[in-house]
Symmetry: C2
Subunit: 144 residues, 2 copies
């Protein structure tokens, strides 16, 4: 996956905040873009460790927080209570279909639902900020 755009975004973010451009931060970004989406901190930690055994958990958590702040990564609190991180720029919203057997995440957006959600906010006098929608079921592969 080409992650040059995100790399630039991260570098810009670090520079702007007077933070340093370290190896570890780059390593974590790299693994993130190659090892898939919707990863737990542990999965990221283990993946980074394979190539860079010295890295510590604290650095992974700190870097994930930074990536989220920079808008490169999104944190999902799933039903099991474990946070998952997906590598993605903030502006492209999507929701999830999740298989309860194999755990696969499918990303979906339904513009009609999004519109109705806005209506729900308005109907209840809320100023809308964000939402999350998770659809749990059994995927095609697992229901065979």
């Amino acid at each position: 996956m080409d992650n040059s755009k995100e790399k630039l975004k991260f570098e810009t973010y670090l520079t702007d905040k007077n933070l340093k451009h370290t190896e570890q931060r780059v390593h974590i970004m790299d693994i993130f873009s190659s090892a898939g989406k919707h990863l737990t901190a542990e999965e990221i930690y283990l993946a980074v460790r394979k190539k860079h055994p010295g890295i510590g958990y604290a650095t992974v958590y700190r870097t994930l927080k930074l990536l989220c702040e920079a808008g490169i990564c999104r944190e999902l609190t799933c039903e099991d209570g474990i946070k998952r991180y997906e590598y993605q720029s903030q502006d492209e919203h999507h929701d999830h279909l999740i298989c309860t057997k194999c755990g696969v995440f499918v990303e979906v957006v339904d513009p009609e639902i999004e519109k109705l959600q806005e209506r729900l906010f308005k109907l209840n006098g809320f100023y809308p900020e964000r939402h999350r929608m998770e659809l749990y079921g059994i995927c095609k592969k697992c229901s065979k």
Copy 2:
């Protein structure tokens, strides 16, 4: 709030599973129906303690699990990672509008959204099981 229906449901559940009808279990149910909805385990623990100081955390957690199994209570995993429990029979589904300032929960159901969610499951080859939708924003009171 009249919770005789739920009490009967719980008693039946306990009897069916050869479990015992203890004071503590009744106390937790009672607080639950009087102290509001969408409570954390801690809030429930503290509320029960006011009337029944001897009760322990373990009993609260165990009873909440039982109530969920009995279909009297639903567990919500919120974005802060803390589980909340709402006292309610299983069959009445609803989603939530949540104020990010004051934390108020408003229960909503939009039949059109529910239909479109079913369509999303089908479109992606998923057998539907359940879903959760949380809309985060600022409520009327807080935006004044």
